[in-house]
Subunit: 338 residues, 2 copies
DNA sequence: GTGAAAGCGCTAACAG
DNA sequence: CTGTTAGCGCTTTCAC
């Protein structure tokens, strides 16, 4: 293995001290123009890049960690893109790690980021207890995406899931549907019931249904394709199935369509189906899913911005950003059969 | 921000030297049972975790970097799962970073991993020049996934893309098709033509067509949904379109189906369509795509195994693992119309 | 404006 | 078996 070029090599080549090189590197105060150019020249000639690992011990690592719950959910790709775009051109590098939908693995991932002295972390839709998130946030600048509770320890960026669910219900009611079922991600923990996007969407659904004077009809499974499949099977087994199904996430809606196809049914002919997230596949011709776009790109970019601000000033008061979603009407929803 | 517990705190608490703590941590030679238990107790009481950042300067970081070209391609999720599963239980933590389909961003990502003293890197389907890959491999233990050339500097894990393409052609020929088009990812660089999976698949297609005495019919676009869409539009515009379309990747096949749907056509009624990768959506009811499964999970697990072996012994000779793909027949392919 | 020196948390020689 | 000591590559006082 090749030996790395270090700051000492650069200093020797430029005929200056390592301190000087360090200052030029960080554009710190106290360097003359001619020293800067000599150091820069030496850096280029030698192909020097500072060791982030060594920097970690004293200063920054220029590393930001993103914890995401599920590599497969394409919605998170949009969030990542947004964060990456915001960070492009800066010295920061994004690294992601996925957790496995349980608190222990979330803790392991967050600890791993802390142990590696990352300068900041973005946690996407974490399920961990509030106290745990605050513990992380007290150790490293933290932005939480998706959770609705506000904390004095971390900034948050979330979609208005309550309003977004309302958009879907209103759309379906406008099409003449009255029996509208909602497939949600089962949740029992009281804090998560108040803070997790899935729970807030379910609340928004319930509220909207009540507002329209319609009966609530919630099926609890999980935010996966299988959850949608199982939920739909349960609905189809009823004597009087609903006429419309609002899946809490697009991946769930895919499972709904799976189950319908298996039963020889389709959307919107037999059932209207709507999702949430506007993942790339939602626009896929044969699916053409009506859904809610929560602009993952903007969410990611906002999270990156808040994080850089907090890294710059860890003491600044926390912010909660809530972005407004918009309904994307496609072909999976249509007027209710008489 | 809270101050971290360090090895000094643990040593003081346990009444031993930091060397002793370090040895216990690494299960190194030269510690008595009673010392081990005292140190372990102190670690637990204090909630100590070693700083990977500090370790980086002397020993390992227990960090493995995975560079992937596209977060959106669900096939890579399988590879990641495989690698993560193999690493579960070990001290290693996986971090991923995505590049942007150009050599410069690949270099930036690989350098970022090197700068952070990662113990090893897994590069998924990199497009960089061979010399660049070997440069990386001389700096850090490296496993390359997807590339076919073999190198003395890095291990490789690849699917038998040549054979896999043959499976598809043989399947379609067996169904009675004779006009079979292939949509590939355009490639001009000579090394990539020999090493990249897309190019090898195209070769396998050509070879299989020749073997069956059929005319080659290749459309060059890109391995994206849009590439499939555009390629299909071109095919449909012909006087005599083919009867079957073999897309070089499942995402491409989705674009094919997009274009067909737009033209009021469908698979397998009007055209047989096959893909490659067996991404999760390929099994989605309304799509039900015939495709080739290259077992991403096993590819990822194998890569992780090779990487750990190389980290343990950087001098060992390199290995090239080639995994056999298998055809998954679903409903998007059917007998050719007479 | 510049550089010598100390030290971040850990590991690895080397004595004892 | 155990502890002392010297760094790893960088940043940061603090003299000059």
């Amino acid at each position: 293995m090749v030996k790395r070029v270090t700051i000492v090599d650069v200093a020797r080549r430029a005929g200056v001290s390592t301190t000087a090189v360090s200052k030029v590197l960080r554009e710190a105060y106290g360097t003359s123009p001619q020293m800067r150019s000599r150091v820069r020249a030496a850096i280029d000639e030698l192909g020097y890049r500072p060791s982030a690992a060594a920097r970690a011990l004293r200063g920054r690592t220029y590393t930001i960690g993103v914890m995401l719950p599920d590599v497969r959910n394409p919605f998170f790709a949009d969030v990542l893109d947004g964060a990456a775009d915001h960070l492009a051109g800066s010295e920061y590098q994004l690294f992601m790690a996925s957790s496995c939908d349980d608190e222990e693995s979330e803790a392991r991932v967050a600890d791993a980021m802390i142990d590696r002295s990352m300068d900041g972390v973005i946690l996407i839709a974490p399920i961990s207890a509030r106290s745990r998130l605050e513990h992380v946030a007290r150790t490293v600048p933290t932005v939480v995406i998706g959770r609705h509770g506000n904390s004095g320890a971390y900034d948050t960026v979330a979609d208005d899931d309550f309003g977004g669910a309302g958009l879907v219900v209103t759309h379906l009611v406008g099409l003449g549907h009255r029996a509208i079922a909602h497939i949600e991600h089962a949740e029992t923990d009281p804090v998560r019931l108040a803070e997790m996007p899935n729970a807030v969407r379910a609340d928004g659904y319930r509220h909207a249904m009540r507002t329209h004077g319609l009966p609530e009809d919630v099926v609890s499974t999980s935010y996966t394709r299988e959850g949608g499949y199982l939920g739909t099977r349960a609905l189809l087994a009823r004597q009087r199935p609903p006429t419309a199904i609002f899946a809490g996430a697009d991946v769930v809606a895919l499972g709904v369509l799976d189950a319908l196809a298996e039963a020889g049914l389709s959307a919107p002919g037999d059932f209207s189906v709507a999702g949430y997230d506007n993942i790339a596949f939602a626009s896929f011709g044969p699916i053409s899913l009506t859904t809610v776009d929560q602009d993952g790109h903007r969410i990611g970019a906002t999270a990156a911005r808040l994080l850089l601000d907090r890294i710059a000033d860890p003491a600044r008061p926390t912010t909660q950003v809530r972005l407004s979603p918009k309904l994307v009407v496609r072909h999976s929803t249509a007027g209710a059969a008489e």
